[in-house]
Point group: C2
């Protein structure tokens, strides 16, 4: 009998073989779009020829969109402080997600996303850095930056830069939620507007953006709930200006108390919490044909099978259930449209138009409790979102001239 | 006869059709190295699969080189303050050059260079920004940053970062000059060492780096000359620490005066000035078989045809003359080698090895006054430089473990 050698236990988390295969060596490369085979090519792409292009751009900066990659480039920026559900894992460990995001921009929408993971935490420092690297990019996609820092960072960058700045965890989620909600409401004969009672659980980056976009879409009876209960105008726990502003603009019936109370008679529950819970009993007290989006990841606010017993429509954030609320439905087409138009900003009107474009792809004949949103691999999604966003950008005059 | 319509004069500098064609839309794209065709792919490249990779890197940061693009990525960073011979044209107008550099990295050496043009000028701010964006890159190529800011920026970044930082205008030029000088000296039966008298005209980024590398290669009688004449240890015009240090380490015969005086009896003239001039008469007073590298661009320090009347070997920075001293001979292979080895820095020994590798590609039978360096399109250049640099990196233990 041969000796049994005790192998050391492998340290660290395991990577399964399938995952390893697609991530090995990174998921992106830089590709040349022109050739350099000889000295003649070199004299055109580099010195002395390149000087003509540099001088032309120096003379007329908007030519950067004609003669540089700015035309089609988006920086996918993160500080690694709130990556997926993993939390604060830092910039190097965040790279695989940002590469994934860039990969999806490319594969789905032909946008050249490039991951920039920042070894920086102070919001003002992040604003300085992103402002400084912006000249070569046509857009900035902020990603996985923890709240409330993300609000300050996005707000300041939007004011400083003349290119679109979009925090996907906020607005991408909000757009897809609104798209799904429009169709869910349509299915049960309700309308996204003043008559719809909506409860949003989880008042982080996504929750605040969802609430603001729903208000912009005409919802007036919106009640926010965080771990301390219903958000009110007076809540002493108000952590930052954006949270306080939300308190003032929502909860018109001035409710106070736990989520159960908010859900009593509500038409819609939207869970974007870090692990809140609601019960079957809570759903029983909602209005007729309740709509439940239980999007906490990996564990939804209520088990989808339980929710389906009471709700007319159930959606989650998970790919193994119907109606996945997936940001991939929005950001590739959104940036495609922004770049196509040479947009200088992202407006609320563009976000509303993107949501309508996504919702509009589910025809009346297809609309069903388990099919309220298209698949991210539906080839109509990107062109529809891009066209809608670009049209608004041009109409608003928010484009490079 | 038809009417003659007077067209408005086009404003701004013209771009010739050939140049326009290769620069239109930019010269780079981001490419996907893995596919995303359906939900199964999405679950591997993005959530939930990607979380396994993130956690593994969080647990062991060196895995970033296995599972992210850091492995093969170089940031080509400029602030646009000293672009080619054009001067301070700003970050957007610098983009075509940085894209060109990235293109050459890709086409010649398979390195994924990405242009980052900074809207920032203060050296400390640039250091902060480059440090912050470094996590996703395996190397930093600084480019076209004006002297003396470039010395401070490179020095601080080298101390702060555990990836190679290389200012090509300094060290790329120095390496190719040393390579060419080794072969020129060989051709005339001289040696790069204590017996060789060298004059360097132009004490900017390139001049200082050339001087330092020649000193490292064993030259002792080196005389620097700037627009105020010979650089001495005592020159009151000394502008910064690096300039003062050069003054102390050069000019052992303690000459003072104009370039003519320095050239009297010199073996080698290296011009990397912003437009200095020397005359035929100066060359007549050099030692036997003088070597003249007149690299000012676009107008060399002396007309090459005139130089050839007196010098045994003439090189320039121009592609329309023999012996072009072209940085393209160095930086693609250098970064290939640094990335292959997982190098954590660039050392002087690596620079000397890179120069020797370039020089070694011109065989004794090929060596001629008009052929002292290989073509940048000689396919042996990149592998030779890469292998030499990687070997030193490993030998010095300057690699990721």
């Amino acid at each position: 009998m041969s000796e049994q050698i005790t192998l050391p236990t492998p340290t660290g988390p395991a990577i399964s073989a399938d995952v390893r295969r697609v991530h090995e060596g990174g998921k992106l490369a830089v590709a040349a779009t022109t050739r350099v085979r000889d000295r003649d090519d070199l004299a055109l792409v580099y010195t002395p020829g390149v000087a003509e292009v540099c001088l032309a751009i120096h003379d007329r900066p908007s030519l950067a969109r004609s003669y540089t990659i700015k035309r089609n480039s988006v920086a996918v920026v993160s500080d690694g402080s709130a990556v997926l559900g993993l939390g604060d894992i830092g910039p190097e460990a965040a790279m695989p997600v940002m590469e994934g995001k860039a990969l999806l921009l490319k594969e789905l929408a032909g946008v050249d996303g490039y991951p920039i993971c920042l070894d920086a935490r102070d919001p003002d420092r992040i604003v300085e850095i992103v402002t400084a690297i912006a000249p070569g990019f046509g857009g900035i996609n902020l990603e996985d930056i923890s709240a409330p820092r993300c609000f300050e960072i996005e707000g300041k960058l939007r004011r400083r830069l003349a290119i679109p700045v979009f925090h996907d965890d906020q607005h991408g989620t909000a757009i897809v939620v609104l798209a799904a909600l429009r169709n869910a409401a349509r299915l049960v004969g309700k309308t996204v507007g003043p008559t719809l009672r909506v409860v949003v659980q989880g008042i982080g980056a996504a929750g605040i953006a969802v609430s603001e976009l729903l208000l912009a879409a005409g919802v007036t009876d919106l009640v926010g709930v965080d771990r301390n209960g219903i958000v009110t105008a007076r809540r002493s726990t108000a952590r930052d200006p954006i949270f306080r502003r939300l308190g003032k603009r929502t909860n018109p019936r001035e409710l106070t108390g736990p989520v159960e109370l908010a859900l009593d008679g509500a038409d819609v529950f939207i869970g974007v919490s870090a692990g809140g819970t609601i019960t079957e009993r809570d759903l029983q007290h909602m209005a007729s044909d309740p709509i439940v989006f239980a999007m906490a990841n990996p564990v939804p606010e209520i088990e989808p099978a339980l929710a389906r017993r009471h709700a007319a429509v159930v959606a989650t954030g998970r790919s193994d259930h119907p109606n996945q609320i997936n940001n991939v439905l929005c950001f590739p087409g959104l940036f495609r449209g922004l770049l196509d138009a040479g947009a200088t900003r992202v407006s609320t009107t563009m976000k509303l138009a993107a949501a309508d474009a996504i919702a509009g792809l589910v025809g009346t004949d297809e609309l069903a409790p388990e099919h309220i949103i298209p698949s991210p691999f539906d080839e109509r999604v990107v062109p529809a979102v891009a066209a809608a966003v670009a049209e608004i950008a041009r109409r608003e005059g928010a484009v490079v001239t």
